[in-house]
Amino acid sequence: MRTTGRAAVVVTAVQKRFGETVVLDGVDLTVIEGTVFALLGPNGAGKTTLVRILSTLVPADSGDARVAGHDLLGDPDGVRSSIGVTGQFSAVDDLLTGRENLQLMADLNHLGRIAGRARVDDLLDRFGLMDAAAKPVSTYSGGMRRRLDLAMTLVGSPQVIFLDEPTTGLDPRSRRQMWNDIRELVTGGVTIFLTTQYLDEADELADRIAVLDRGRIVAEGTPDELKRRLPGGHVRLQFAEPPALRAAAALFDDATADEEQLVLRVPGSGDVASLRQLLTKLDEAQIAVAELSIHSPDLDDVFFAVTGQSTLEEAA
């Protein structure tokens, strides 16, 4: 995982409103080259708007942004020649076949006849679309469309790829496959700017995550940093019998005991110092612990803590 290096995307104080609604309220962020950056947020948080601004589709009301070294306002064509975008809604031509769609991209990227055809074949093969290459896209399944969409984005060998909710609406298997495809891209050195409302997706793929809520970045860091920053991490102690549980519960004021499961949850980040302290306490009281595990909160907890609402609630 890389945390230092050249910036592929720099966003400074970007604001955007549609009529009375403030969609982006001063967003700042930096994405390091060759990393996966996930913008996490519920529906309506402004994720898609930010992607549309960064991919030159919509102008920001104020603020600056540079993508792949090109200024968004000053050199939009420079930005366009360095990026690839796979949006939330499939950007494929339904009336054309899979091969024709890719060939169209090859032609528009001016790859030339031979290089273009080679690239098309290579991508059809890589995304498992060779068998369906001659069929119109309107006959494709959701997963196939999304793969073709991503393949079309890759024809021009972009340095920065924007993926706006790349797995929304896909079945679990297609979703896994998309994750693998995305991971493969990163090994090729490209930068990925991903938006998602799925916490596990950000956790799986991203080097850094920013949480966007109502147009503001409310938290940012590596997945682990975000989890650690959070209250709610705890050490879970499993006991063999109730007296041990009760004795241990008496030692820690802020612990919560579960009598049925014989589990004691002691709040804490689980770092070495506090663990040693905890074990010493237990040792001194001569309490036998059957099992010990450190529980760091998952991103759902993070989300709840930073935005005060659950993502599930928001999606419903």
């Binding site: 919509v58 366009r80 054309l96 032609d107």
Partner: protein, 267 residues
């Protein structure tokens, strides 16, 4: 390659795409060519016998009765073909703009104009093919143009220019439409304009108000010029007015379409 070479190459790519789309959606073209053919058959075989009585032999290109009326009505039906074909253009453009792929084009470093150029050129080819088919049917029914090579060339040029103008208008209407349904309705008035001009009857036979309208609307001078070129009826200054109309419509619609295309912002 230079910017111009890229623009030409991108436009050619988009033209290939648009033509392929039309090819994949043949029912639309058939439907649009079918309409003027139905009107041609109906007007010649149902109304033609009656309507031919109002025509002087000059307007019937020397023929009488139904055959004379066929000679009179064919130029109007050819222009109606253009009007019907561009209805398809508006639909196709709106379909493209409401689909996701247009956003992909906008995020690519391609000539901005290429998408519209591709649509317009494909529509022009589609219109000319449609005109060819309808003209073929008319000739099969007995339409006998008197035009020589130069006049044919001028007639094709006029049809091409007129089609070009209406295609840009339909493109703008397609861009302005919020949905494909709207886009299929807004250019419909164009199909009726040949009736409110000299397409099917002499404008002298129309009531005053309508006659005024017919006199000043673009289909009348264009019909008269085309009829003159194909069957030798008097053209007068209609040719100049027809060309001016086409250029005017093309220019205004082009500017409107370009503005709509650049400003289209979906949230």
């Amino acid at each position: 390659m230079s910017t111009l070479a890229y623009t030409v190459s991108d436009s050619a790519t988009m033209l290939r795409r648009s033509l392929r789309r039309l090819q994949r959606y043949p029912s639309l073209t058939l439907l649009l060519v079918g309409l003027p053919i139905v009107f041609l058959l109906m007007f010649v075989y149902v109304f033609g016998g009656q309507l031919s009585h109002g025509l002087s032999s000059a307007y019937a290109a020397g023929h009488t009765g139904r055959a004379g009326y066929l000679n009179y009505v064919t130029p109007g039906v050819l222009l109606m073909t253009v009007a019907a074909a561009v209805q398809g253009t508006a639909i196709v453009v709106a379909m493209d703009m409401t689909g996701g792929i247009i956003d992909r084009f906008r995020t690519m470093a391609i000539a901005r104009s290429a998408v519209l150029t591709g649509h317009v050129l494909a529509a022009l080819i589609q219109s000319l093919v449609g005109i060819g088919i309808v003209l073929g049917v008319a000739i099969a029914l007995g339409f006998r143009p008197t035009a020589d090579f130069i006049h044919w060339l001028a007639a094709v040029g006029l049809l091409g220019l007129f089609a070009f103008a209406l295609i840009w208008l339909a493109t703008a209407l397609g861009l302005a439409a919020k949905s494909v349904e709207t886009a299929s309705n807004t250019p419909m008035f164009l199909t009726f304009l040949p009736f409110l001009g000299s397409g099917f009857v002499l404008i002298a036979s129309l009531p005053t108000g309508l006659r005024q309208f017919a006199h000043y609307q673009p289909f009348t001078p264009t019909t008269e010029t085309l009829r003159g070129l194909l069957t030798g009826t008097p053209i007068g200054n209609y040719a100049l007015i027809a060309v001016a109309w086409s250029i005017g419509i093309a220019l205004v619609s082009y500017l409107w379409a370009r503005r709509l295309y650049t400003n289209t912002r979906s949230t």
